[in-house]
Amino acid sequence: MDLKNAIVRARRGLREERRLYVVAVTSLAVAFICLGATLLGVTNLDAAATRWGQSGRITVFLKDGADAQDVAQLGVVLEGLADVQEVTHITPSQARNSFLEEADVGADLSALPPDVFPASLEITLVSGVTRERSESIASRLAEFRAVSDVESYGAWFQKLDQLLWGARMLAVSLALLVMFCVVAVIGNTIRLAVARRRQEIEVMKLCGATNGFVRGPFVLEGMFQGFASALLAVLALLVGYLVLHEPVDSTLAALTGSRVVFLGAWTLVALLVGGALIGAIGSAVSVRRYLSV
C-alpha cells in the first residue's frame, strides 16, 4: 500500500464526508468521555488508597489499669521500630475531651465519665510503610500484656479495596462497551462513506487497484475518527479537571488528605492509541465486504 497516496485520498474522503465524520466523532467522544471519567475515578481512588495505605496509623488501646511499667516498655519498643514516626499517649480524659470536641450527636454528653474512654497510644507510621507491614506491626503489638486491642484499620482498607475492585470492573466493562460502540459507529460511518464512494471503489478496482489500495484510505479515516474522538474526550476531561481541581482539591484535602490527579501518561497514550486502533479495525472490517468488484 502506498501510504502517501492513501493519506492524500483519506484527506479527500474526510473533506468530502466531513459532516458525517463530525457527527461520528462527536458521538464517539461522548463514549470516550464516559470511559475517561471512569478511568479518572479509578486513578484517583487508587491514588487515595495508595496514599492512605502509605500514611498508616495504628491505635493501640490499653487495658484499664495497665501497669505503668508495661506501658513504658511498650513505648520503648515502639520508639525502637524504624517504621514508627511518632507515638502519642492519649489518656482517658484526653480521649473524652477530644470526643466531646469532635462529636456532633445533638445530645449533652458532658456527663460522660472519663473512664468510658480507654487510654491509648496513637502511632503514626513513617511515610511509605505498606499495608502488610502495618498489619504485621499491629499483630505484634497485640501480644503485649498492657494492650487490650489494636486497630490497624485493616477492615476499612479492605472495604476500600472492594470499592476499587468494583470501580476497576466498571472501567473494564465501560472500556468493552466503548470498544463495541467505536467499532459499531465507525463501522457504520465507514459503511455509509463506502456506499457513497462505491463508484470510486468500482472504478479503482476496474483499473487494477489491489484491495489494500482501496482499503487504505478507509482504514486511515477510521483510525483518524477513533483518534480524534479519544483526543476530544481527553481534552474535555482535561478542561474539566483544570476548572474543577482547585475547589475539589481543597475539599478533598480536608476530608481525605489527598489531591485530585489527572490520568497518567500511559493511560492517555492507551486511550489515544486504542481509539485509533479500534477505529482502524472497525473500518477495515466494514470495508471488507465491499471489495468484491
Partner: protein
C-alpha cells in the same frame, strides 16, 4: 477427487513487467469453448471460440442480452467462466487467484456505456487514478495524463470538474483513463450507447486512432449504423453463440446484420 491447481500470479501480470517475445507473438485473447451460465438450463454463452490477434479492432455485436457484456466481463474477470478457457497473452486468466486479478486489469483498459467516471473529481483526477494505483511518481503521472487528454481531444481541460463536461466529453475522459496506462487491450462495452449518432462516430474514430497506435480494441455495440460505417472484423453473439465476419457488415454471410441485430 481432482486436485484444484492454484495458479500463482504470472510475472507478466505484475506491475512493471513486460511481455516477452514469445508472448508477443501469441494472439492477445483466446476464448476456448467458453460456457457461462446464469441459469442452469439457459447458458448466456455457449461454446464460444474466439481468437483476437494483437493490434486488431473487433466489433462485438448482438441484441441486448445476447452476452456481449458477459463476454467482456469474463476478460476483465468480473465474472469467471463455468466451462472452457480464456487466455490473455497465452495465460489462462480463469485460474488467476483473486490477488492476481488487479495485475491482469492493469493490462486492460475498460470503457463503459455509463462512463463510470467520478462526478465530483476533476478530469485530471479521473484519468490519474489509473496511474496512482501503480504508485507512479507524480511528475510522470502529470505528463502521462496530459498526453492522454491530448489524445482524446481534452488538452488543457484537466482542472475542470466532470459536471462541467458534455456527455461526449465525459466519455472521452473515460477513454483517456482507459488508455493512460498504455494497456495491451481495450474493452469498450457499448461506449456510444448514451451518445447521439454524431458523438458516437467521434468516439468510434477515437478508438480507431488508439487502435492505429497498436492497441487491440474490442468494441461491443448493438448500433448497426455504427458498424455499417466501418470494415472492421465483426463478431456477432446471438443466444450465446458466436458468428463472425472478418471484414465487417458488408461481407456478412447470409441474411445480413439487420436481421441479426433486430
Amino acid at each position: 477427487m481432482q486436485e484444484t491447481k492454484v495458479v500463482r500470479p504470472f510475472p507478466f501480470f505484475r506491475a512493471g513487467a513486460r511481455a516477452s517475445q514469445p508472448q508477443l507473438s501469441k494472439p492477445i485473447l483466446v476464448l476456448e469453448d467458453v460456457y457461462k451460465f446464469f441459469r442452469p438450463d439457459q447458458p448466456t454463452l455457449r461454446g464460444v471460440d474466439l481468437k483476437v490477434e494483437r493490434g486488431e479492432f473487433v466489433f462485438i455485436t448482438g441484441p441486448s442480452g445476447a452476452g456481449k457484456s458477459t463476454l467482456l466481463k469474463l476478460v476483465y474477470r468480473e465474472l469467471t467462466v463455468d466451462e472452457g478457457r480464456v487466455l490473455f497473452c497465452g495465460r489462462d486468466i480463469c485460474r488467476l487467484t483473486d490477488k492476481s486479478i488487479p495485475f491482469l486489469r492493469r493490462n486492460l483498459g475498460v470503457v463503459f456505456q455509463d462512463f463510470r467516471i467520478i462526478d465530483h473529481w476533476t478530469v485530471y483526477e479521473n484519468v490519474a487514478v489509473a496511474l496512482e494505483i501503480v504508485s507512479m511518481p507524480k511528475r510522470l503521472i502529470r505528463s502521462r495524463v496530459a498526453e492522454a487528454l491530448e489524445r482524446v481531444g481534452l488538452a488543457g481541460r484537466g482542472p475542470e470538474l466532470i459536471t462541467n463536461l458534455s456527455g461526449g466529453e465525459q466519455q472521452r475522459v473515460a477513454v483517456a483513463r482507459a488508455i493512460v496506462p498504455e494497456p495491451a487491450l481495450i474493452l469498450a462495452d457499448e461506449p456510444t450507447g448514451n451518445l447521439d449518432p454524431h458523438l458516437a462516430i467521434d468516439i468510434l474514430t477515437l478508438f480507431e486512432e488508439i487502435n492505429a497506435t497498436g492497441t487491440t480494441v474490442l468494441f461491443a455495440t448493438h448500433d448497426h449504423s455504427l458498424i455499417s460505417k466501418r470494415d472492421h472484423r465483426l463478431i456477432s453473439i446471438d443466444e450465446g453463440r458466436v458468428l463472425e465476419s472478418q471484414q465487417g457488415l458488408k461481407h456478412w454471410p447470409g441474411s445480413g446484420i439487420h436481421t441479426m441485430t433486430g
